[in-house]
């Protein structure tokens, strides 16, 4: 009963501060490209060039199979959500430190800072998805009813991402090593996630390792729904959803435990 009340109180707090959340997200988005000529176009140009170069390397040079769809399409269905994941984590790791002036001066729930930076990255992500939509269109991939899975998979990703972001942001406040460690972990994590290759080329007996990696499940689910026109593997997705929820709860509780000390350490 006490726990339920605590959850309700936290949700209420979140709603009370939603305007701050939007304003902070908005600040991050508008300030970033203010002095650049191409401005927000970078959000699309960046992944586009990344896709072109990586497609050249993995398709034409290394000849990785891509399940019968053009490689660049195959790659973008996984790489764009992965970019959202890494960018959210990297910017979260810094968000408390770079807003130290706010943290030491004014009270508000600190998780708002983490959420706002994730929202800003989500906006970037949705714009970058125009690239994917463009490829889907020119390669004439049919729109199917399975697309309805996309928001479900996205929510699973969001919980997983936010949970880790909360942990990383809080710990980086105490030890700045976390941000460097994070870069290393993300680089390695990218290789053990089927982004640049299909999960099917992993030998059957090793494939279970992938089901322990929620990002592998998520990325693969996007691909199955978007490109193969079928249901995602519901068992794996269910496990990933459960893991994501646990990660989020753990992250949130840890963050709230440490929150009172942020202003003393930053």
């Amino acid at each position: 009963m006490k726990k339920v009340r605590k959850v309700v109180a936290n949700i209420k707090l979140f709603l009370d501060y939603r305007e701050l959340l939007w304003n902070l997200a908005n600040r991050e988005i508008t300030q970033r490209y203010k002095q650049s000529v191409l401005g927000y176009a970078w959000v699309i140009l960046n992944p586009l060039f990344q896709l072109i170069v990586m497609s050249f390397v993995f398709d034409i040079v290394l000849r990785i199979p891509s399940l019968g769809v053009p490689f660049i399409l195959f790659l973008s269905a996984a790489l764009l959500p992965w970019n959202l994941f890494t960018q959210s984590l990297v910017s979260s790791s810094n968000v408390l430190v770079s807003n130290s002036n706010l943290i030491t001066k004014i009270y508000f729930p600190r998780e708002i800072l983490v959420y706002s930076t994730i929202i800003a990255k989500m906006v970037d992500f949705f714009f970058s998805c125009l690239v994917l939509v463009f490829f889907l269109f020119i390669f004439k991939i049919p729109v199917t009813v399975y697309y309805l899975w996309l928001p479900v998979i996205f929510v699973v990703q969001l919980f997983f991402m936010t949970g880790i972001s909360l942990v990383v942001s809080a710990l980086n406040l105490f030890y700045r090593d976390i941000q460097y460690l994070l870069n290393l972990v993300l680089l390695l994590w990218m290789y053990i996630t089927p982004i640049m290759y299909p999960i099917e080329i992993i030998p059957e007996k090793y494939r279970f390792i992938m089901s322990l990696n929620p990002m592998a499940v998520i990325v693969n689910a996007y691909r199955q729904v978007l490109l193969s026109g079928k249901n995602p593997n519901l068992y794996s997705l269910g496990v990933a959803a459960l893991v994501s929820f646990i990660v989020f709860s753990f992250g949130f509780i840890l963050f709230k435990k440490l929150e009172g000390e942020f202003a003393d350490y930053v």
Binding site: N23, R27, N101, I103, F108, D177, D264
Partner: protein
């Protein structure tokens, strides 16, 4: 009971300063049995009650814990021991413009800063003209504030912070906002708040100033409460302490 604005009971704040900032320094220290933390008492065992509408002057030398106390009242940091009860919306005039971003325009910053202080967008729309007028920045609101002079910057920050009558007003030192004429305007605004029933807490080195605006005084020395009570006595205690020190 309903008249209490702020109540401190046995309020204590310890900082544990970590000596090592990175793993590289921390791990050897941890296993080598060295101290990893240095405990430091910023405030110890404060007890006071401030009723609504009263104004408190906090007197003390540098490092006596004045700012720490303000931070605890503002909810920025938590007490390590004891309890603090704060009833009402706190407007911290501690470091003005903390949430301002140089690349955003004056208008954008006003809305952003308002939401940090907990003012809703709709209310802000009503307060906005008043803020601009008070800051005397009518022509500059659509410019990025990195082009503002520091005086303009402070004026805008102050105007946002005092846009709404707060229940509790925290003032650190005296505001160095703009020229003399503008400072006077700020002080007038603060006196208005007092008349409207706001509780004010002011931190200062200067007993004269505190006497002018406050009716209660709290004297701190190295984190300990030397005196709490009528302002006249508080300033006397403070001056005696300063005399002894010199």
């Amino acid at each position: 009971m309903f008249n209490i604005a702020i109540q401190a009971e046995n309020l204590t704040k310890r900082y544990s300063l970590q000596r090592q900032r990175t793993f590289k320094e921390f791990l050897p220290a941890l296993f080598g049995g060295q101290d990893t933390h240095v405990k430091f008492k910023a405030l110890s065992h404060l007890d006071f009650i401030l009723e609504k509408g009263e104004s408190l002057g906090i007197l003390g030398k540098n490092g006596s814990g004045k700012s720490t106390l303000l931070k605890i009242i503002a909810g920025v940091t938590k007490p390590s021991d004891g309890r603090i009860t704060v009833n009402g919306r706190v407007a911290p005039l501690i470091e003005l413009g903390a949430g301002f971003h140089p690349e955003l325009t004056g208008r954008e910053n006003v809305y952003l800063n308002g939401s940090i202080l907990g003012i809703k967008h709709k209310e802000m729309e009503m307060l906005y003209p008043e803020i601009v007028k008070f800051a005397e920045l009518e022509e500059f609101m659509d410019q990025p504030i990195k082009h503002y002079s520091s005086g303009m910057y402070m004026r805008l920050a102050f105007a946002v912070a005092v846009a709404e009558t707060p229940d509790i007003l925290l003032v650190d030192e005296i505001l160095a906002v703009g020229d003399q004429k503008y400072q006077k305007k700020c002080l007038t605004r603060m006196t208005e708040f007092k008349k409207n029933g706001s509780t004010m807490i002011m931190v200062s080195h200067n007993p004269e100033q505190v006497k002018k605006y406050c009716n209660k005084g709290l004297v701190l020395h190295q984190g300990k409460q030397l005196f709490f009570g009528e302002i006249e006595k508080a300033t006397a205690v403070y001056e005696e302490m300063m005399d002894r020190a010199s």
